[in-house]
């Protein structure tokens, strides 16, 4: 009776979601309702509670609060500004000027913080007024900032890749991190191409070339921030740290830098810790509820049902990947990334494995796909934040953002159908 369970699960979820119940509670209540079909009330609520608690009981998940905290420290600690200066020295003279600088800075910031929302806030917060001063259209600037912020989720470190590792039952985090570099750059380059061509048509200014001495100085200033990257990724890839330990080291490193730069003081720490705990908790409650839902789906053999249905449709990998991508694009518009990865990985990964897709490659496809959903209404956290920092509205950003969506979808297709882009770098390191 898996279809009856699926119906109740989906029905309750969508009704509550539409009314405006917070997503984590929609997931939890839908799971409980579906469980009541086959289990008595007492054991059912106990099982949901148990799945939530044991789902959170994971050393791997611990990396998430630490990367959140490190991101907060970098955001407040003046690291974002130094990276933007570096990006400006590196690519400010290209067509598209500050738009290209914004994209490059997002990639750099994402590469050290692993958070798209942190990138959209930190980079967008500094770039939006600068772009306005140089005559850039506010909505175009917001579109650039929003879409480029998602590159931070593909370029490691990336919390969502850690969650994928968990959901997939143990795909190596180091392999996933290495796999993200080239696809993240593909997205970044395509976004730059779109931003550049739009900027040329609109006649936006280009920065004057900096004297070499000044350019060198910005590089030296940004160097300690970039070094964090070497410590974190190097430590994980070389097998010195687990992702969680690396994240804790990143917190310490970012805190020391922020103190040295005199951007924060000891008095700011409790506030920063509390805000990080809050940010963490919102994600973690979603994770707990999603893990319970995922368990429930497995309990009624839903993944097998979907898998059989998909494989019955076609056995052509190209077609099946297209179908899976189309489903995920739709899912991404209304479902947040974390629950989407936790709930749909167990459903789609077996199909992908059957048609010969490497699980590391599939993780990159899934994350790139859901990144697009982060920038689309009705649920798009990066869109919300990006619109907020640019002081515009969702309705006004939609038109200028469309060409950037097209670039993201083209990048997704390239990465989906050219596995080497994801798998070459991990292969080089023996993963």
């Amino acid at each position: 009776m898996a279809w009856m369970d699926a119906l109740v699960l989906g029905g309750v979820f969508f009704v509550l979601l539409a009314v405006g119940v917070p997503v984590a509670f929609c997931i939890g209540l839908a799971t409980t309702a579906a469980m009541l079909l086959s289990i008595e009330a007492g054991p059912a609520v106990t099982t949901v509670a148990q799945r939530m608690a044991t789902g959170l009981d994971s050393f791997t998940l611990l990396a998430i609060p630490f990367f959140v905290l490190a991101g907060q420290l970098m955001n407040r600690g003046g690291i974002a500004r130094r990276l933007i200066d570096l990006a400006k020295a590196a690519v400010g003279t290209l067509p598209g000027g500050l738009a290209v600088v914004n994209i490059f800075a997002s990639m750099l910031f994402g590469a050290i913080s692993g958070s798209a929302v942190a990138a959209a806030t930190a980079v967008g917060g500094i770039m939006a007024p600068r772009m306005r001063d140089e005559g850039y259209d506010r909505d175009y600037a917001a579109a650039v900032n929003i879409t480029s912020a998602t590159t931070g989720l593909i370029i490691p470190p990336s919390n969502i890749l850690i969650i994928y590792s968990l959901a997939s039952g143990g795909v190596s985090i180091a392999a996933l991190f290495l796999a993200g570099y080239v696809p993240g750059m593909v997205v970044g380059l395509l976004l730059m191409a779109v931003a550049g061509s739009m900027a040329v048509r609109r006649g936006y200014p280009v920065a004057a070339r900096l004297p070499l001495r000044v350019a060198l100085r910005t590089f030296v200033t940004a160097l300690p921030s970039l070094l964090l990257l070497v410590v974190v990724i190097g430590g994980i890839v070389a097998g010195i740290f687990t992702a969680t330990e690396a994240a804790a080291v990143a917190v310490l490193y970012a805190a020391v830098l922020a103190f040295l730069y005199r951007e924060i003081s000891a008095r700011d720490l409790p506030g920063i810790l509390r805000e990080s705990a809050v940010t963490t908790a919102v994600v973690m409650l979603l994770i707990a509820a999603s893990i319970a839902m995922s368990w429930m789906m497995a309990y009624v053999n839903l993944p097998q049902g979907v898998s059989a249905a998909l494989l019955g449709m076609s056995d052509n990998p190209i077609v099946l990947l297209l179908v899976i991508n189309a489903i995920l694009l739709v899912v991404g518009t209304f479902m947040d990334m974390t629950p989407a990865v936790l709930i749909f990985t167990p459903i789609f990964l077996p199909v992908a494995a059957k048609i010969g897709i490497d699980p590391t490659h599939f993780g990159i496809i899934m994350v790139m796909n859901l990144c697009i959903g982060l920038c689309t209404p009705p649920v798009g956290s990066v869109l919300f934040v990006g619109v907020g920092v640019a002081q515009t509205t969702i309705a006004r950003v939609i038109r200028p953002i469309l060409p950037f969506f097209a670039a993201m979808i083209v990048a997704l297709m390239i990465v989906t159908y050219v596995p080497a882009l994801s798998l070459w770098l991990p292969g080089l390191f023996g993963y």
């Binding site: 539409a18 009314v19 405006g20 119940v21 917070p22 997503v23 984590a24 509670f25 939890g28 209540l29 409980t32 007492g42 106990t46 949901v48 509670a49 148990q50 939530m52 608690a53 959170l56 009981d57 050393f59 998940l61 611990l62 609060p65 630490f66 905290l69 958070s115 798209a116 929302v117 806030t121 989720l153 919390n159 969502i160 969650i163 969680t244 330990e245 804790a248 080291v249 917190v251 310490l252 810790l273 509390r274 705990a277 809050v278 940010t279 963490t280 908790a281 919102v282 994600v283 973690m284 409650l285 707990a288 209304f334 947040d336 990334m337 974390t338 009705p378 649920v379 956290s381 934040v385």
Partner: protein, 188 residues
């Protein structure tokens, strides 16, 4: 007028306490894992309890934090429907939303959580390294559930006053653009 003021003052006190506890736990988490790295690399004598302590602290931060964020109305939701309504209709939908949150908090977190605590204590399961009863770790479920229920009741009370036409009824709006609520969603 007087009673709601009291409730709101109580809520503010709970907020402050919970916020302080969260900051302390978060700090403890960082120190704990840094200690783990330190003992492994510098002392070359890996600590045996840090891994377990960190995992349990995370459960507590996650669920107590979930309660705190519920009190700040920062959990991600699609608010197209409530934000398109005004006056009593808006309060009616708001009351419906709070009832759903209340139902989950009480049925799953308080009742289900308490049953889980009881069951685990009955089976006498203790943790491997710290040797503490696992049931204690799970007490955070009913505790957080009760806190979420408390916040929901506060908001529900405001919506019901609003439904009766009391213009002083106020429920804090989730503040868009302040970063935290949406920030959360994406971990990522």
């Amino acid at each position: 007028m007087e009673r709601p003021g009291g409730v709101m003052r109580l809520k503010a006190a709970v907020d402050r306490l919970l916020g302080g506890v969260l900051a302390a736990f978060m700090g403890a988490l960082v120190l704990d894992v840094l200690w783990q790295v330190f003992t492994r690399f510098v002392l070359r004598d890996p600590s045996s309890f840090t891994d377990e302590l960190a995992r349990y602290l995370l459960i507590w931060v996650a669920l107590l934090g979930g309660a705190y964020t519920a009190g700040q109305r920062m959990h991600l939701a699609i608010d197209l429907l409530p934000s398109s309504l005004h006056g009593r209709r808006r309060h009616a939908v708001g009351a419906l939303i709070e009832s759903a949150v209340l139902l989950f908090a009480v049925a799953v977190m308080v009742v289900g959580g308490a049953r889980l605590v009881g069951l685990t204590l009955l089976l006498g399961q203790t943790s491997a390294a710290l040797r503490i009863p696992l049931g204690w770790v799970y007490t955070v479920l009913p505790l957080s559930g009760a806190l979420i229920a408390f916040y929901s009741l506060v908001f529900l009370g405001e919506h019901l006053r609003g439904l009766r036409g009391d213009p002083t009824a106020s429920v804090p709006e989730p503040a868009p653009g302040e970063g935290l609520a949406p920030a959360a969603t994406e971990v990522a």
